[in-house]
Subunit: 256 residues, 2 copies
């Protein structure tokens, strides 16, 4: 059977569905989201669609112009840089807070993740590497014991992760990243919160700077970087309604 959908309300399922579609880039930025079209596609009335869309809008994943419909939000390189900077601030704080609280088992969990990342790096399993990387950073926030920090960071990570496919090339080498993680971990093991924080700041700053350079030296398409609008406005070509998913009602609808 499908996931634990049973106890969720309709709009929550729609929300999850749309969020996944957007994250997976199956609904690229600029796609227009018509309520009626969606309600047909998903075999749900417009109410839940609208409700879900509201949440997505509040989360910044779609933009809603009153009376003019909604579309998947495009993001500029500049905004991505902004998000990275905020993420840096949060993670540095997380490390600072977490360091004095860490138990042996916490450190072991972190170490495991770094080991896992190292293994993936060796196998050039980029996707797996970044999955583990993401878990590592989220775990840091969790271990900070600060719920609010965790919440805000999670939101940011989602937003950034949506474009991870395009940002992979922006990171330093995978091995370098592993070393940085090990260094952070070592500092935390020693209880040196300040050093760990500084290392974290440097670590998160790497992709930020790369991005910044990309932004400054605009017009240097070394690879197909579709999905990034350079610096200026972020208006994507107007995908029309027919660009909505063409498949049936929905996995969780008994199709009857």
């Amino acid at each position: 059977m499908a996931p634990a959908f049973e106890n969720l309300t309709l709009w929550q399922r729609v929300y999850d569905h749309l969020r996944n579609e957007i994250m997976a880039d199956r609904l690229p930025p600029g796609t227009e989201l018509s309520e009626v079209a969606l309600s047909r596609e998903l075999s749900v009335s417009r109410g839940p669609i609208r409700e879900a869309m509201g949440r997505l809008a509040a989360e910044g994943l779609v933009t809603v112009r009153p009376r003019r419909g909604a579309e998947v939000r495009a993001i500029t390189t500049g905004e991505l840089v902004d998000s990275y900077q905020v993420r840096e601030a949060l993670e540095v704080m997380a490390v600072r807070l977490a360091t004095p609280r860490l138990t042996e088992s916490d450190l072991d969990r972190l170490e495991e993740l770094v080991d896992s990342m190292a293994a993936h790096a060796k196998r050039e399993a980029v996707a797996d590497f970044f999955a583990a990387n993401g878990v590592f950073h989220e775990l840091l926030c969790e271990l900070s014991g600060n719920k609010k920090l965790q919440e805000v960071h999670h939101r940011l990570a989602s937003e950034i992760g949506r474009f991870q496919a395009q940002t992979l090339a922006l990171r330093g080498s995978l091995d370098g990243s592993v070393s940085e993680h090990r260094a952070i971990l070592a500092a935390m093991r020693l209880g040196d919160a300040e050093r760990a924080a500084a290392l974290t700041a440097a670590h998160v700053r790497v992709p930020t700077q790369r991005l910044q350079e990309t932004l400054d030296g605009a017009g240097d398409p070394e690879d197909g970087d579709r999905g990034f609008q350079d610096a200026g406005a972020a208006i994507s070509p107007p995908h029309r309604n027919q660009s909505l998913p063409r498949r049936g009602p929905l996995p969780w609808q008994p199709s009857g």
Copy 2:
């Protein structure tokens, strides 16, 4: 005529209204928000109410337990501490980013605000003081040039500001606060981003520590601190529906 309400959709007006009511503490934490009651009160159908409630929930101002209704979210002292910490991280980053970008006129605007705060402090005009204080900190974020930082900070500030009435006593002396602001401003004028950041961290940390102490030494109600649930669960006494605003349809409804 009423404010610039004209071009807003109904649910946006409802959202603004409820948000204001909650912020002004006219809808205290724990108040149950019945859709039908609200729709009667505001002379709007349940659709917009629901839409607005969704946004408020996404913003953390109300909690919605599916099928069991919504209520104004209560906050624990611990959560408030968390928010303060995140705010510290954000403002430190903001100062660091802003310092190298500041123009003469930016510095003047900041100085004006500090002067204004000093004046209010001298007159013991606490409310005005904190208003200016809030503007100062928001301006810092704005001057960072980082939109995302500004957005997240604004959201946090709102959330915290909701309880400012109760946190006033937690601040250091007003004069001390003014000095701290002046020190930060001086460091920024000299372009010393790191020093300004450190001063900011210390400055924001003051109420955090006070809060923490309050939390640790729980059970010390030196003044009527209703609105704070101590550390543990945050279930307020079940205000019943009749605790909703008793006044007419709504300012923006021509009452006809």
